[in-house]
Subunit: 283 residues, 2 copies
């Protein structure tokens, strides 16, 4: 059951919010979607936007200013939540911001008690696209994926693992190597068990730096990283990602943007360029 | 004492937030300011943005997407708070959203206990501009004013009463006739006392429809009003404003925008046109 919670005109199209029951996550979920104005029944391409720690489906909608460019390029924007939600969903013992609710890390958990609900990978790759296709005129052969921070990690890992599903990938300030940073190690040990050495086959599936090691081709990727990002040194490991692609001839562009931080002020400053980048491969 | 609370790069310029003590309001206040990138020391024009009920200085900054156009046109954006703030500031008995904190209505209160702090008119017209001039390279002869809802009322009334201070005025969904709507009557009776009949000389100073009756010239004004605005019928009285200017030859353009509501999705859809409008009269 898909329930429309709100519909607001924005740049000529409509910013909408829906509720639906997710069988994959075993809970009720919200997502937001921007549908450009359309004069006919022609199908439109889409970009999935994966948000970062603490976010819901609404942060990007409210703060990024992406609707203008989605309307201009006639691209649907799909914004899922960042974890399963609800009173029945297990959360971090101390309700920490970086594990549990709001911190699903776009993976399929295997450890108890997380494995029943924390299956954001399957939700994003399989279940939500089917819901979107039933809802609006999306062309499933023209879909790209993007995200910020934890969501940048999600966009990179999901995009790299499913090259036939996505025409292009982009990320702002992604967590490039979860196996090698505090946020990622906490998440992967909690959701998947063990540590990198003892559970490498599982952890590597959710680590862009590990995934890229085994890849000789990929769809075009654009990454923007603020040089003044307060999380750059400890959590994001952009340098490891750049090292991992240095000997490969991959269509990946990693850009440092001088003076920008980790916030939505950074995202809004460059979201037009990301949507333009994707539009090249979606047309 | 002016204290910088934050400074974040945005579209090449900087979005900043400051705290200062206001002698006019007898309390500590926050304001936000966007300062475009500048290569020299030339002075820049500015737009004051007055926000609506419940807002602080941050809503416009986060949601409107105006920084892009401020940077492109090299215009400083100044966003004050919507009322005095703090534990010592009197508030509505029931902490209602439409009176007291977050609802200063851009007037100088005369009734106790409001008259000591609720002097947003003097704060916006006199005190804050002096603070801004001490802070950044603003050209005080090139200043315009804009706002939304209660802030649209503020922009219209302050702009109409001070034609030599502002080069142009614009408003989204303004409360055009506070004397004639529930929000306005509650505010004006509370802050100024009496009712329209018993205290007309005072109420009329803060009512754009009343002010425009006595005016034969004004600076250029642009008003955008969503046709699906949930407050249009009961609170905004756009029709009264249009009537009040119908027999005058004033440079005022009131536009109904089909299908838009009262939210920031409406503002963000047209803020580029408002900044472009002001830029014509600020250059």
């Amino acid at each position: 059951m898909l329930k429309e919670l709100s519909s607001v005109k924005s740049f000529g199209g409509f910013q909408k919010r829906f509720q639906h029951y997710s069988d994959v996550l075993s809970c009720s979920m919200h997502f937001s979607i921007y549908i450009p104005s359309t004069s006919g029944i022609e199908k439109m391409p889409a970009i999935y936007w994966l948000s970062g720690l603490t976010c819901t489906d609404e942060n990007f909608v409210t703060k990024a200013g992406a609707q203008k460019y989605a309307e201009e390029n006639k691209i649907i924007l799909i914004c899922p939540d960042t974890s399963p939600r609800g009173d029945s969903i297990p959360d971090d013992d101390k309700a920490a911001y970086d594990f549990g609710l709001g911190a699903g890390f776009y993976l399929n958990a295997t450890e108890s008690p997380w494995s029943e609900n924390y299956r954001m990978y399957d939700y994003i790759v399989f279940e939500l696209p089917a819901v979107i296709e039933s809802l609006c005129p999306v062309d499933p052969s023209r879909v790209s994926i993007s995200g910020h921070s934890m969501g940048g990690h999600g966009a990179l890992t999901i995009g790299l693992r499913n090259p036939s599903n996505y025409c292009s990938i982009s990320a702002f300030s992604p967590i490039c190597a979860p196996s090698s940073c505090p946020w990622g190690r906490k998440a992967l040990s909690g959701y998947l068990g063990g540590d990198y050495e003892s559970n490498k086959s599982s952890w590597a599936n959710y680590d862009a730096v590990e995934l890229i090691k085994d890849i000789d081709s990929c769809v075009p990727i654009l990454i923007d990283q603020g040089s003044d990002d307060e999380f750059l040194e400890e959590q994001l490991n952009t340098d490891l990602f750049i090292q991992s692609i240095s000997n490969k001839n991959l269509p990946i562009n990693v850009r440092y943007q001088e003076g920008y931080d980790h916030s939505y002020f950074f995202i809004s400053s460059f979201i037009d360029q990301h949507i333009k980048f994707h539009s090249e491969f979606l047309s």
